[in-house]
């Protein structure tokens, strides 16, 4: 049975999700292309994706841990920072790549049909690979600092999904807006730079006064980062549950609206890009 496709003005394509399934290999291939191209003609190759979190960790440990003498709740400060850097880097790289994915592949969009969401989604996959590499570094550091994983480690899987959802949700917004308004290209680095200090990456969110905790959790990355610390540091970290639930709700809202906005605008991408 041949499938039927109807193209009409203003009509959403009904088999959108099935179409995405048909193109599932494209997601993987685009991610593979970006990964395999990235470190060609570089001397230290993959090490580049580890240098950034490691240096950030060292600087944050010195600045927040030693100079500012912020509390770590008993955990070694480097681990505290690195546990937060995992989701933060994932989010930050994912969002950057996602928001640029469409205009960087403008030629593909104007010359061929494929589910447009494959471009931002595959850039999240690329960032996920970086996350896995950084995770290996974390394991090494845990051995060095004698921090042993508990059963909570399992929670890293859904937490990674949550971090990916923040990156994809906001990335879809920015990617779609970027096609029409190039201003967003300048906005993203600013948001990320700002976010790095507003989010509890270099410090534990336990230093936030109790009255402001819920307000602070309006930043969805707060829930994600606290979740990662809770899962990695075991007894040395605790999770502020109302704030975490608020973060999960916000992430869901961002993702759902992001997908909707993307779908509503993607039909005109080829015309305006």
């Amino acid at each position: 049975m041949k499938r039927e496709i109807v193209l009409e003005a203003g009509r959403g394509y009904r088999r959108y999700w099935r179409d995405m399934w048909d193109y599932r290999e494209l997601f993987a291939f685009l991610a593979w292309r970006d990964i395999s191209v990235r470190y060609r003609q570089t001397v230290i190759g993959v090490a580049w994706s580890l240098i950034q979190p490691l240096l950030t960790m060292i600087v944050f440990t010195i600045v927040f841990g030693r100079l500012a003498n912020l509390p770590s709740g008993g955990a070694p400060y480097p681990i505290l920072v690195f546990a937060a850097l995992l989701p933060w880097q994932f989010f930050s790289n994912g969002l950057t790549a996602c928001s640029n994915s469409l205009i960087q592949n403008a030629n593909m969009i104007s010359k061929i049909y494929f589910p447009r969401i494959a471009l931002p989604a595959s850039s999240i996959i690329v960032s996920f690979v970086d996350l896995l590499l950084a995770f290996v570094v974390l394991l090494v550091m845990m051995v060095i600092y004698q921090v042993w994983p508990t059963w909570r480690f399992v929670a890293l899987v859904p937490l990674t999904v949550l971090a990916g959802a923040v990156a994809l949700g906001s990335g879809l917004w920015f990617a779609a807006l970027n096609v029409r308004y190039r201003d967003f290209r300048y906005l993203v680095p600013f948001v990320l730079q700002f976010g790095l200090f507003v989010s509890p990456v270099g410090f534990s969110s336990s230093i936030v006064p109790a009255d402001f905790k819920l307000l602070y959790s309006l930043n969805p990355m707060v829930g994600v980062i606290d979740g990662f610390r809770w899962a990695i540091l075991g007894q040395d970290a605790d999770l502020y549950l109302p704030g975490f639930i608020l973060s999960v709700i916000l992430v869901t809202v961002i993702l759902v609206t992001g997908v909707r906005y993307f779908r509503a605008t993607e039909r005109s991408f080829a015309d305006v890009i």
């Binding site: 499938r3 010359k111 049909y113 890009i273």
Partner: protein
């Protein structure tokens, strides 16, 4: 009874052109500024002035309807900007129609450009997989056809070389090879046959023919009318987004060609003239080298083109030029007086005649279309018109034997053919015919009469 595979009903595509801003995209700044301005106007109830000046609607495609059944091959023809490519973009789902409806039964593969998604850093092998996936092939399918694709592209030795080191020919061959092995039911192809050298173009045409015989449905856009006639069963002729004609490929191509029918004298449609308006194109005549309308000039003779123009403001250093297009739509000659190192007399305000003599034309018989322009220093265009002038090259017994017609190509070349035992091939030369063991046949042009 074959099923309808593609059905287009009243399809249209509208673009809104904004005349403000130097870029194709909008900056948020402008949107904010505009909305603020609109809000202000709403408050003060002032009428919006100049709104129509900043927005213009253009229908790139309008009211196009057709049906294609299994195995139909449709050719889309028309001038540049007629909407052919836009129609193809609608069919391939790249862009959405603004009006009408398209129904597609089956999988669609579109080939609007060869090598979409090719990455220069990746090797040939990697790009085959990447490009194939982008075009909608499954990994297993690509693996199955991999050897065939590589053999077709003739790049076996360079499979593990990054394509950035490929020659442009190799690049194009590989890209086309991937696309040529698609198995989708409906294939949409835009002008990709225009790539590569002659031998490869022929290979592509053959491959397209084979694909067609497999009973797949093809929509082909091309300026190569011969390819359309050869590959397509039906054709649609588009002009400024609308369907002018529809029928069998041969009929439509013939009528399309006839629309450029030789009119030895004529006037210009002002709508087709671009430029700053300082020069108005009034009328033209085309004659043979003697200044007579008949007999038609034949290959090797001269053609005279006279264009009467009206100049509004005097031009100190005018330049002028023309492009000559073959009956099949190939650019044969494109020259202006700057290229020729020639300076024209200043043109005062008023009527002038621009005379162009094409000497010893190498063109073979058929209607030739001419673009004409009057320009100034730095390529500034006073007036430019495409496809406006037509002249017919008459048939003649050019090679001294049979009457040479359009089947012989579009340019005259002296050709010598010889045979000799292997290993001692003589170089055929004009002045030593038959001085080897073999026989040499010399084909040359009779003295140009006239």
């Amino acid at each position: 009874m074959s099923d309808i595979v593609v059905k287009a009903e009243g399809v249209g595509k509208k673009y809104v052109i904004r005349h403000r801003g130097a870029y194709g995209y909008v900056a948020l700044r402008d949107v904010l500024a505009n909305s603020a301005g609109n809000a202000l106007r709403r408050v003060t109830r002032r009428k919006r002035i100049g709104e129509d000046l900043s927005r213009e609607e253009i229908w790139a495609v309008k009211d196009v309807s057709f049906e294609l059944r299994d195995g139909d091959r449709l050719g889309l023809i028309g001038r540049n900007g007629a909407g052919k490519s836009t129609l193809l973009k609608i069919l391939s789902r790249i862009t959405e129609p603004s009006a009408g409806r398209v129904t597609l039964h089956g999988n669609v593969a579109s080939l609007l450009e060869v090598g979409t998604g090719f990455h220069p850093e990746l090797t040939g092998r990697e790009n085959v997989y990447l490009n194939g996936t982008i075009l909608g092939m499954r990994r297993a399918e690509i693996s199955r056809k991999f050897d065939e694709i590589v053999a077709f592209a003739e790049v076996e030795k360079f499979l593990d070389t990054p394509v950035k080191r490929y020659s442009s020919g190799m690049y194009v061959r590989l890209a086309f090879a991937v696309a040529a092995h698609l198995e989708q039911d409906i294939l949409l192809v835009d002008e990709v046959l225009a790539v590569g050298d002659a031998a490869f173009q022929k290979k592509c045409l053959t491959k397209m023919g084979a694909v067609a015989r497999e009973g797949r449905t093809i929509v082909l856009v091309s300026h190569n009318l011969a390819a359309i006639e050869q590959l397509c069963t039906t054709a649609i002729w588009l002009d400024r987004g609308r369907m002018v004609d529809q029928g069998t490929a041969n009929e439509v191509v013939e009528r399309y060609n006839a629309s450029f029918a030789p009119e030895a004298t004529g006037s210009f449609e002002t709508a087709n003239v671009t430029g700053d308006g300082n020069v108005e194109l009034l009328s033209y005549t085309v004659t043979n080298g003697d200044g007579n309308l008949l007999p038609l000039p034949v290959t090797g003779q001269d053609v005279l083109i006279n264009v009467t123009v009206r100049v509004r403001e005097a031009i100190q250093r005018p330049a002028s030029g023309l492009s000559v297009w073959s009956p099949g739509g190939a650019l044969l000659t494109s020259l202006n007086t700057d290229h020729l190192g020639q300076e024209l007399e200043p043109m005062s305000a008023g009527e002038h005649t621009v005379t162009i003599r094409l000497s010893n034309i190498p063109y073979l018989p058929g209607p030739h279309r001419v673009d004409f322009w009057v320009s100034g220093p730095g390529g500034h265009l006073y007036a430019h018109v495409e496809d406006a002038i037509t002249f017919e090259v008459g048939e003649s017994a050019l090679y001294g034997t049979t009457q040479v017609d359009r089947g012989f190509g579009c340019v005259f070349t002296k050709v010598q053919v010889s045979t000799s035992p292997a290993g001692m091939a003589p170089i055929p030369a004009e002045h030593r015919p038959g001085d080897s063991n073999g026989t040499a046949v010399e084909l040359s042009q009779p003295a140009a009469h006239g």
